[in-house]
C-alpha cells in the first residue's frame, strides 16, 4: 500500500503528564505493512503512544516521522489522515450506524457512490447490516465496539491503530474481527494494536512490543510483516 519502508520512525520521544514521565522511547521503527502488538500492564503508556502515533497528541519532545514525513504537530490533518486510531472506549456519534461509518469517508471527500459501496461492504463483513439504520447510541456495548471498528477500518488508511479493540467484543464476534484485520494486513495495512487479547496475537502473529513504565522493554528484531502481506 505504501512505497516508504517505514510506517513510523520515532526518535527521542518523551511525553509527561503533570511532571511524571509517561513515555520515554529513544528509538522505534515500524515497517510499512507490519503488524505490532503493544503489551504491558495498565498505565504503562500504550494509549499515550497510540495517541502520539495517531498525531492526536503532541509529545513533549522528540520526533515522529509518519511514512517518511516529519509530523508538524496535531494541526497536520493531511498527514493524520494516513492513520486511524480506534479508541478503547467505543464513542459513537448521535446518528445511525450507517452515518457513523460514513463519517470519515465523507470527511476525506470520497465520492458518494464509493461511500455507499464501501459502507455496504463493511456492514456485511462486520455483521452490522441488520442494525445499519439503528441509532448508534442505542446499541449494546458489543455492537458499539463492532461499529467503531468498522468505522475505523472502512477508511482503508495505510495505518490502523487499535487500542484494546476486542475488550467489549463477545467471543462470537471476535473471529469476525480477526478476519477483518487479516484482510487489512493482506492489503499491506500497518496495524499497531494495544492488546491483552491472546486471540489477536494468535490470529495475526504480530511483532510484540512489551512496554513498562513508559518504556519499550522488549522489542524483538522481527519486522512484524506477516508472510501473506502484499
Amino acid at each position: 500500500m505504501s512505497d516508504t519502508a517505514f510506517a513510523y520512525e520515532v526518535r527521542s520521544l518523551i511525553h509527561s503528564y503533570n511532571g511524571g514521565i509517561a513515555l520515554d522511547i529513544p528509538s522505534l521503527d515500524i515497517q510499512s505493512g507490519a503488524v505490532c502488538a503493544l503489551t504491558g500492564p495498565n498505565g504503562c503508556g500504550k494509549t499515550t503512544l497510540l495517541s502520539i502515533l495517531a498525531l492526536l497528541l503532541k509529545p513533549v519532545s522528540g520526533s515522529v516521522r509518519l511514512q517518511g514525513i516529519e509530523s508538524a504537530g496535531s494541526h497536520d490533518y493531511h498527514l493524520r489522515r494516513k492513520a486511524t486510531l480506534v479508541h478503547q472506549k467505543p464513542v459513537l456519534f448521535s446518528a445511525t450506524v450507517r452515518n457513523n461509518i460514513e463519517y470519515g469517508l465523507k470527511a476525506v471527500g470520497i465520492p458518494a457512490k464509493e461511500i455507499r459501496n464501501r459502507v455496504d461492504r463493511i456492514l456485511g463483513k462486520a455483521n452490522l447490516g441488520e442494525i445499519a439504520e439503528k441509532q448508534a447510541r442505542k446499541l449494546s456495548g458489543g455492537e458499539a465496539q463492532r461499529v467503531v471498528l468498522a468505522r475505523g477500518l472502512v477508511l482503508e488508511t495505510p495505518i490502523v491503530l487499535l487500542d484494546e479493540p476486542t475488550n467489549s467484543l463477545d467471543a462470537a464476534s471476535r473471529p469476525l474481527f480477526y478476519n477483518l484485520l487479516r484482510e487489512a494486513t493482506a492489503r499491506g495495512t500497518t496495524i499497531i494494536t494495544a492488546t491483552h487479547d491472546t486471540g489477536i496475537l494468535a490470529a495475526l502473529n504480530p511483532r510484540i512490543l512489551r512496554m513498562d513504565k513508559g518504556k519499550i522493554v522488549h522489542a524483538p528484531g522481527s519486522t512484524g510483516v506477516p508472510p501473506n502481506a502484499a
Partner: protein, 229 residues
C-alpha cells in the same frame, strides 16, 4: 382583598378576550426577546465553541471576563448602549434610541456573553474522545468542532432557552432604550412597571401571568431537552 380579586378577574378577562393593548405588549416582548436570542445565539454559540476548542495563554482570563459580564445589571448594559445610540453618541446618526432595533441591540449585548459562556461549558462537557474520534477519522478542525457541537445540541438549545428566559424578564434595557412606547416598544416588564406606578393592577397582573406561563414553558422545555440528551 376584594380589590385583588377584582384585579385578578379583570386580568383573566384581558387574557381571554385578547385585549388589543395586552396582545400588542406580549407580541412586542416576544418579538424583541426571540430576535435578541437568535442574534445572541448566532454570535455567542460560535464564540463559545471557539473558546472551548482554543488553547491560548489568557483563556482563563477571557472565561473570567465572560462570567463577570453575566452579573452585569441590565440597566448598566442599557446605559452603556444608551451612550452609544443617543443623538450625540457615536451611533446617534442611526436613530436607534426608542426603537425596537435599539431594544434588540441592547438585549443581544446582555445575553451574548451568557450564551458564549454557557456554550463553552456545554462544549467542554462533551467527551473529549468525540473530538479525537472525528479528527482521527479524517475531519479537519472545523468539521471536528461541528461534530462536537452536534453532540452538544440539546445542551446548546438549553443555553438558548436560558438566554430567552433572562431577556424576556429584563426591564432595564427595555425601559432605557425602548422608552415604553405603547404599540411600539412597550414590553411586558415595562408595562407592569408603568401600570403598577399608576395603581392599575389588572393589566400588570395579566402580563405577570403571561411571564409566569413563559417561565413555566421554558422550564418544561429544558426538562424535556435534558431528558432527551
Amino acid at each position: 382583598m376584594s380589590d385583588l380579586r377584582q384585579a385578578f378577574a379583570e386580568a383573566l378577562r384581558l387574557i381571554f378576550s385578547a385585549d388589543s393593548d395586552f396582545t400588542a405588549i406580549v407580541f412586542a416582548s416576544l418579538q424583541f426577546s426571540i430576535s435578541s436570542t437568535i442574534l445572541a445565539a448566532a454570535l455567542g454559540i460560535p464564540a463559545g465553541i471557539a473558546l472551548a476548542n482554543a488553547r491560548f495563554p489568557f483563556k482563563r482570563f477571557v472565561e473570567d471576563v465572560l462570567n463577570t459580564l453575566l452579573a452585569v445589571p441590565t440597566v448598566v448594559v442599557g446605559l452603556f448602549v444608551y451612550t452609544l445610540i443617543f443623538s450625540q453618541g457615536p451611533l446617534g446618526r442611526l436613530h436607534l434610541l426608542f426603537t425596537p432595533t435599539g431594544v434588540v441591540l441592547g438585549q443581544t449585548l446582555l445575553i451574548a456573553p451568557l450564551v458564549a459562556s454557557l456554550s463553552c461549558s456545554a462544549i467542554a462537557a462533551v467527551d473529549p474522545v468525540v473530538r479525537q474520534t472525528a479528527l482521527t477519522l479524517g475531519a479537519a478542525r472545523f468539521r471536528a468542532a461541528r461534530t462536537v457541537a452536534a453532540e452538544a445540541r440539546a445542551a446548546l438549545l438549553i443555553v438558548c432557552l436560558t438566554a430567552f428566559g433572562r431577556v424576556v424578564g429584563e426591564i432595564g434595557i427595555s425601559l432605557l432604550l425602548g422608552g415604553n412606547i405603547l404599540g411600539y416598544t412597550r414590553t411586558i416588564t415595562t408595562a407592569i412597571s408603568l401600570q403598577t406606578s399608576r395603581g392599575e393592577f389588572a393589566l400588570g397582573l395579566a402580563l405577570g401571568l403571561v411571564l409566569l406561563f413563559i417561565a413555566f414553558g421554558i422550564n418544561l422545555g429544558m426538562r424535556l431537552l435534558r431528558t432527551k440528551s
